[in-house]
């Protein structure tokens, strides 16, 4: 046990109650000052005051989307159908070019995250195809680390993008590989790097959404939105410092998503959060039909909150009845206040 000093003996008193006249005088003073402070608030510089309850969590200012090379407002509806052609056997061929790049992404105004990206953006491009299409992905590695692309879905072992499965399992810097397979089964899937250490390769930004539409298509809606839930570990301590949808924390809080009363909305929601066990999605003042993994056209649940573990995903469909501003966020509220919070602006 460490020897105690007179200072320690002071600290012990921290457990004691406020007993002396001096301490009592100070406590009373606190209340006195409190009142005084309210009166003198006018001349203080409170530019972002939220009434009498302090500020809401959030960021002030804007990250440099242009320099980042992507804007989450565009990512929402940015579906990449690839370069389409027809194979001699009549099968539709979709060809995509994906490059792995090191890139600094400004995730919080003033903080650049040294990310690893597909095509320079987080998340990577949303690849979209129809069940049975031939997919060809021309992957090249423009970074200084080995990377790969591992797709969720049916494909041969050598197309799995996992080290040990052949040349596509680990593409060295400067190398390239053609991943080729048929898009199946239909549903909402994802892709990510599978080179080890896996957690770090994913957390640094190497992930994206892969949507396989059923042959007959899904029922038409007015707006389809992509939301990939991610975390950002800026100080590399294997714990997320910020949380987001589509890369940038608080983006849809600062830039509400505009929809209309009565519009049918479909969200492709994917959780790629590293380090934390679960993520969730909660929609305010509404309920949605939920299609886990999008592999069925019949919803499994009518709810307002769903939980997803890592790589879990599902499709949400809903319509707003009333105009107004409605929050959507992780109901793991800690994540919400660290960036995973957004707003729908529902117009009449």
């Amino acid at each position: 046990m460490k020897p105690l000093s007179r200072r320690d003996f002071l600290k012990v008193g921290g457990l004691a109650f406020l007993g002396t006249a001096g301490a009592t005088a100070l406590t009373q003073q606190t209340k006195h000052d409190h009142v005084h402070e309210n009166n003198s608030n006018e001349h203080a510089s409170h530019t972002m005051q939220q009434g009498d309850h302090g500020d809401l969590p959030g960021t002030v200012g804007e990250v440099d989307h242009e320099k980042n090379g992507f804007n989450p407002s565009d990512t929402l509806t940015d579906f990449d159908y690839g370069e389409v052609s027809t194979l001699p056997n009549g099968q539709t061929l979709r060809e995509y070019k994906i490059v792995a790049l090191n890139k600094n992404i400004e995730v919080i105004p003033g903080i650049e995250f040294p990310a690893w990206t597909y095509n320079g953006r987080i998340p990577g491009p949303t690849l979209r195809a129809t069940e049975g299409d031939r997919i060809r992905i021309n992957f090249s590695n423009g970074s200084n680390h080995p990377h790969s692309m591992h797709f969720h879905g049916f494909h041969p072992g050598e197309m799995d993008g996992v080290p040990g499965t052949g040349p596509g399992g680990l593409v060295e810097p400067g190398g390239n590989f053609m991943y080729e397979f048929d898009a199946e089964p239909f549903g909402l899937h994802l892709y990510h790097c599978h080179v080890f250490p896996l957690a770090r390769h994913i957390a640094k930004g190497l992930y994206g959404t892969f949507i396989v539409d059923p042959k007959e298509g899904r029922p038409p809606v007015d707006q389809e939105l992509i939301m990939m839930m991610n975390g950002i570990d800026v100080d590399f301590d294997d714990a997320n410092d910020f949380y987001a949808v589509n890369g940038i924390p608080f983006h849809y809080q600062n830039h509400p998503i505009q929809i209309r009363v009565g519009e049918k909305i479909r969200i492709y929601l994917v959780n790629i959060l590293e380090f934390d066990l679960i993520n969730s999605f909660h929609l305010h003042a509404n309920f949605f039909n939920y299609y886990p993994t999008g592999t069925s056209l019949t919803p499994s649940e009518f709810t307002d909150t769903i939980i997803q573990g890592q790589a879990q995903r599902g499709i949400l469909e809903f319509t707003y009845k009333y105009p107004g501003m409605y929050m959507f966020h992780a109901h793991v509220t800690e994540f919400a206040e660290l960036g995973w919070n957004g707003m729908f602006e529902v117009m009449a």
Partner: protein, 397 residues
Amino acid sequence: MTQSTVQPTTKRFTFRTFVLLLIPIILLAGVIALFLYTGGGLRLDSPAPVENLDVEKYILKHNNIDLYIRNTGPEELTIASVIINEAVMPFEVMPSPTISRLGRAQIHVNYAWTQGEAYGITIFTSNSIPFSVDIPVAFETPQPSGRTFWGFTLIGLYVGVIPVFLGIFWFPALRQLGRRTMTFLMAATAGLLIFLGLDTIAEALEVAAKVPSAFQGIGLIGIGAVATFLLLDAISKSQTEIKGSESERRLAIALMIAIGIGFHNLGEGLAIGAAYNVGEIALGTFLVVGFIIQNITEGLGIIAPVLRDRPTIGRLALMGLIGGGPAIIGAWIGGYTPSPFLAVLFLAIGAGAIFEVVYEITKLIQKDTARESMPMIVFSGVLTGMLLLWVTGLLIK
């Protein structure tokens, strides 16, 4: 002029000497310039930015948290994000989010904190380096005003002035004692002071850990303690040259003990005021009683050298004030502008002063023992003094 007596034998400071002195400095400037320009062949670019940030104090007001920070890293840094209890909060930095080396800034957050709850704050710089500060118990930071002023005055009174005066009240009783007992008391005082000096050094070392590394807290302790010791020694030597009277000399020593204890109490007041302000301590009844018991020995120490003399009541009161009063001043400073730097400095000065006084007392005891040998009395006295503080400490902690 007509004066022509040249003294070639005396060394004189000539222009030549000046140039010779300057040559190494000019060469040094050249080497530094070369080094800055070329890097001297070393790869000095750090692969990762080295940053350091100290939160010197925080002030909580209704719906407001203000953090006073200092950049103690080698280069300028920029504040990019403030997270309070796992929530990213909008913030303002005054004068600027970019802070130069050793520069200071104030981070302002409109945050609806709750009385009595704990808050953890993480500050991210633009290089994604996190710095944390904990608010263990949130309460309105006392602002300078008549009533808080009185509150801190009371704290100083309890921990400094009252105990010292209580010790001085032993004077009439102790005067009745014989020469050997008085020597014993002097030795006991020396023991008390040695213990107090060690304790002060330990406290200074503890607080030094909170001083920004650029200000070299440990070095500061050395400077404060050594300078004070030597300065008091010089003063005491020049006094003995002027006044030969032994009673005057004993009074001077009592005064110096009072000054040394005064500095110690100043440092202690600073630390208590600061700790009180950040909610690290609440001064409970028990704690104040403990303080009075332990610090009463300080008063005893002040009067021990003058027991065989007849100092006026005014003199005794003055010495009591010098010894105990600084605790009040310390509590004010520590309470309103807590500064680990000042606390370390004053604790170090206190330690230097206390050890110098021990040295003076030793000389007095030597005079007594020269007349009459009493080795066991010195031994038992010093040990009693040290044990007295140790045992009262045991009872209190």
